[in-house]
Structures are given as structure tokens and as C-alpha cells.
Amino acid sequence: MTLEDLRELAGHEQDRQTKFRFRILYCSSAGCVSSGCDDVKKTLRAALDAGGFAETCELIGTGCLGLCGEGPLVLVQPGPVMYRHVTPAIAQRIVDEHIAQGKPVEEHRVNLADPFFAAQTRIVLERMGTINAESIDECIAAGGYEALGKVLTEMAPEEVVAEIRKSGLRGRGGAGYSTGLKWDIVRKGKADQKYVVCNADEGDPGAFMDRSVLEGDPHRVLEGMAIAGYAVGANQGFIYVRAEYPLAIDRLRTAIRQAEKLGLLGNRILESQFNFRIDLRIGAGAFVCGEETALLRSVMGRRGRPRPRPPYPSESGLWGKPTLINNVETFANIAPIIAKGSAWFSGIGTPKSTGTKVFALAGNVRNTGLIEVPMGIPLRRIIFDIAGGTPEGTEFKAAQTGGPSGGCIPKEHLDLPVDYESLATVGSIMGSGGMIVMDSTASMVDVAKYFMEFCMDESCGKCIPCRVGTKHIYLLLDKISRGEGSAEDFGLLKELCTMVRETSLCGLGQSAPNPVLSTIRFFQEEYTRLLKPPTEFADGGTGGAHASVSAEGKE
């Protein structure tokens, strides 16, 4: 297949789609599968067939429509009209009323002018919810693989790297390293073999951006990886994806097979001299494998234990060869940058944090789901406009970003712009994009304890500060949360956090104390309130009930 053939295929597919009067897209992402979209699909199919709409109305399973808490979601084009909480009975009504008579079912209609949709800027998620997640033809009709074609026919590898550098794109896995710079290092590396690895080991609890992208638009990631392979001179790519995401694995397998069949992956891509294969590697449930050196060891079938850097994977990675590792969302940004130019991309966001960021909203907010916003947007706008604020009767307390490596942001910092540098100033991190909102009912000591338990369990055990330190931090937090901690314990806790942060080998240990330090920084009184007063010796009479612990520790 040549680039002309690709465009012809796109044209055919566009023509095919215009033949339908209606396109009904139901969300087939994991969230809506859990809320029962399969039954909805069956009802829609049966109702369309029974009503004689099989020829004029197409039914499609699409990627995440965003409003995960209100699923199952169904979208009808043209319009578009979106429906929430669709049961089989509502599905029947959508066909009987909307399709047959042109009258939308108003009670279940979602207001698409709501800030949840209107305040978003979609680059990574642009095709989400508009195409069939399992059809490469629909993806191509919506511009898929056009950027790969452009790169292979018009650009030299160094031009591709320069374009990515100019765009200002930074790693979306959390640390925010310049993507172009990383590509440049791998490109300049001298080796007979290089690799491209996509980190889809989305281990942060509360994060599901990568899962949604892989389920809804897998070709976007494959295309980004192939462009990266061309730019850095690699002919082999790996996607390391969590075993906990069976649907994403399934969709990726389908997508790779489809792309190979059309000659968009494999040998002589688009009849150029460029070869690029992509293989899947399935993780097996270890948070530390999100750390790049651990991930590489896991790809090679070993225990996922990190090693000191340097050498960085860009110099010595898989089997000692230069290896480019980027996150799913980073790869998903590549094709649009190539297609629309670096100037367009760097015009979005802030000068130092360009483009957009996808966030997974969860916790105590009205609208939970998947959103994409320009970098630099104030936190307040995300939480109160897009997410709709906390449920009635509760008050916003803090937003947690960056999962077990991040921190919480209290209400005095609600006007903080969401970019890499600003989040760091308040002791949090951008992270991969999980954002959990907590209301006044949440105890921050318990939250810190929760994350520390996670890090303690997930510590690989290689270095002592992390293996033993996280355990002791956890024990201290547990003691304090039970109301048995003293001021001395609290001092020790802070000291231990600093020690673990400064002496651990890898990112897991170095960032593990962040949730504790950040909650101490903003909610210290929640800790001190639980401490035993220095002169009093409780004789254990309370039996662990911490509600009655005396107020006001003197610290």
C-alpha cells in the first residue's frame, strides 16, 4: 500500500459512512462494559433490525465517551445527541423515538454544552467516541496513519526529531522530560539495533487514561510508535501493557494485526524502505515496572527490579541497545504534531508545558470520567466547572494528583495553573493523570497511610531505604492514626520521609514519601490532633477506637 492507496481507502470509507442516515455509537470501554453496555448493544441491534433500520442506521462500538460515572453512554450522530444511564428499555426508546420519529429521548439526554465537554481541548482524545474502536478503516478515514505517510515520504529522521523538539512536548508519564531531547539521544546512539518501547503499565491507582486511549484509539499509539521508530532508527517496538487491562490487550492485538495486513506495520511500510514491528509484552502486576529500568527488565522476562541510572535506557536499554521509552499518551500526541505542525501544538498550553493533558477524574465529584484540558488551566476550573464540584452537602478538601508518588493540593491553591512546574511548587507532581478529589469526609492521615501501604507492598526490595523505610513510615502512620503516636513519633516520621526520599534507588522510593510530606505540609493539624499529649500515658483502655482521642496535641 502506498500513501495514495491509503488516501483512497480513507475516501471509500468516508463515502460508506455518508450512506447512513444515523450512526449510533455506544461506548465500549471498560467503564461502560461494567455498567452493562453489552445488553444495551443487543437491544439496539434487535430494535434496529425489527424496525427496518438496518440499512440506514449503523451501530458502532466506540472508545470512551468520557462521562464514565453516568454509563452506559450512547451517542447518536448527526447531532450529536448523547444519552446517559441507558438501559435496554431506554435503548428501545432511542430507536422508537429518536431514530424512527426524530424526537430525542430528553430525560436521558446529556447536555453537551455543559463545561464537562465544552471546556475540554481534545488532541489525544480527538477520535475517541467518533470512530469504531476496532476498525482500522474508520481510523484511516478520520486521518489515521496520514502523519506516518507524511514522515516516510517528506521528512528525514532528523527533521522529525527537530519537529518534536520544537513542539515542546514533554513526557506524559509524569516526570515531564523533553520528548524531543530523548529522541535525539536515541537517534544519535550508534548501534546495529535500537528499540522503541511504549510504557502502558499504568499502575497508579485511580488512573485510567492510558487504558482508555488503548481501548478507544489503539492505532493512534501504533502510529506514534512507528514515527518514533523511523525518527530514531529502530525497527522493533514493544508495548508493555498491564495484565489487568484485558480489553486493551485485545484491542491492541486486533489493531496490530490490521495494521500489518495493510502494510502500515511490518516490512516496507507504505512501500518505503522502513521496517517496523510491534510486539506486545503483558505485565504481571508490579507497580515498580512503571519505572523504566524495571520495565525493561520485565520485557526481558526478569523480575522488575530497577537499576541505578546512568546509563539511561536511551543509551543502554533492552539487551544493552539504545532504547526509547515513552508513555502511551506521549506517543498519542506524536501524529497530531506531525500532521498539524509544532507551531500549532506549542500554541496550546503554557510556554514551558505545551499541549494538553488527559486526566482521569475520580473520587468525590459529580462528574467522574476522562477529560483532556490545555496545560496551565486553573485547578479550580477542572474541579468546579468540568467535574461539577463535590456532591451536595460536602465541601472540597483536596485534590490528589500523581497517585502514590504525588501529593495533594488543598483549597488555598485552587487557582494554581496545572502544569509541570506549578504542581511541583506545592509538592505534588503532574503524574500520569490520575486526579482524585477528596471532600471534607476524608481523613488525610488515612489517605497518607493508604498510599504508604501501597508503596510498602510494591517496593521491589532491592534497596534498603525503600524496603525498610516505607514499612516503618507505614507503621508510624498506623500508630498515629490509631491515636497512639507521640510527638516524638511524628518527628521521626518526618525525618524518615526525608531519608527515604533522598536515599532510595529509584523513583518509587524517592517519591513514596510525597503523599505523607504533602499532607503534613497542608494538613498538619490533622496529625497533631491525633497525637498523645506528652505528659499523659494512656493505658490502652480505649482498645484502638480513635474517635475519643484527646484533642489538641501540643507538638
Binding site: 464514565c68 499502575g203 504481571a284 467522574t368
Partner: protein
């Protein structure tokens, strides 16, 4: 397709499932780098990874047993013990935690008289705690026999478990 260098005949135990495993090993050219892939296949075929099975894999891949055992025990996903007839996988992600998964945990553990990570004495139900399953919009979430149940409450969890227990009783009777 390449043949394995040591052609496996029928396993001495007569268990035909080893043929499936051999096929997976051949597919990866018996490469030690594919150990995790092969462990996934083995768990898919046998349900869990018994130590005999690990010895078999170690020999087929020409790896030391320690390496195979080390990898199998390092990752949470690999199970060294069989699971019960039903599985109750509770998500322990942050969103589920904030939305009260701890209450569900407490209620379920109390009802089943065993902790998460264990199987009930009658081998009926395995309680498993999962890292985030990624359905945070529906928190709190549990995966009951491979079907995700969202917006779960302690009462609803117990209702589902009692249902399993009653079905079992009926079958026994």
C-alpha cells in the same frame, strides 16, 4: 514453525494440558526472555502455578529453577495456589478507597471468615485484592467471577456472596 529442540512426548502424568503449554513454549522458541509470557500461558492453562509446573518450565527454557520461581513470585498476577470456585476481586485503588472500599472489605471478610488473599475453608470463594482495575468512574468496584460490578455497597456484596453460597448448597443437595 520451529520445532522445540527437545521434543516433548506426552507428559508422564498423562496430562494433556502439557501439550498446550509446549505449544506456547515453542511459539516463543523456548527463549528465556519470554519467561513471563510463558508463565501467563501456563496460568491460563492450569489455573495456577504449582512448583512442579515451574520445574517443568525451567527445564524447557533451560533456566535455573530459582530464576523461574523468583519471577513467578515477584509478580502479583501469578498465583501459586488454586483459587476457589468463585472469586471476589475487590479493587483497592484510590478512587475505590475514597468511596469506601474498606467497609466492603470489612463486611466481606467478616462474613466469609477469611481475609483478602485467602480462600474460604470450604474452597468456595477466594477473596482477592486487586490494584486499580481502571473503572474508577464506578468506584467502589469489585470483579465478581470476571464480571465488573460498580458502585458496590457492603450489603450488595454480601447479597452476591450469599447467592453463591446458596447455589452451592443447592448443587450439593
Amino acid at each position: 514453525m520451529a520445532q522445540p529442540d527437545t521434543p516433548h512426548t506426552v507428559h508422564p502424568s498423562g496430562d494433556n494440558r502439557f501439550k498446550l503449554l509446549d505449544r506456547a513454549i515453542t511459539k516463543h522458541q523456548a527463549s528465556g526472555d519470554a519467561l513471563i509470557e510463558i508463565l501467563h500461558a501456563a496460568q491460563g492453562i492450569f489455573g495456577f502455578l504449582e512448583s512442579d509446573l515451574l520445574v517443568y518450565i525451567a527445564q524447557a527454557l533451560r533456566l535455573p529453577y530459582s530464576r523461574v520461581y523468583g519471577v513467578a513470585t515477584f509478580y502479583h498476577f501469578f498465583r501459586m495456589k488454586p483459587t476457589g470456585e468463585h472469586t471476589f476481586v475487590l479493587c483497592s485503588g484510590t478512587a475505590c478507597y475514597v468511596k469506601g472500599s474498606a467497609e466492603i472489605q470489612k463486611a466481606v471478610e467478616h462474613h466469609c471468615n477469611c481475609k483478602f488473599g485467602e480462600t474460604t475453608a470450604d474452597n468456595a470463594i477466594s477473596l482477592i485484592s486487586a490494584r486499580c482495575v481502571g473503572s474508577c468512574g464506578l468506584a467502589p468496584v469489585a470483579v465478581l467471577d470476571n464480571a465488573v460490578a460498580g458502585k458496590l455497597t457492603p450489603d450488595e456484596s454480601l447479597r452476591r456472596i450469599r447467592q453463591w453460597q446458596e447455589e452451592r448448597k443447592e448443587e450439593a443437595a
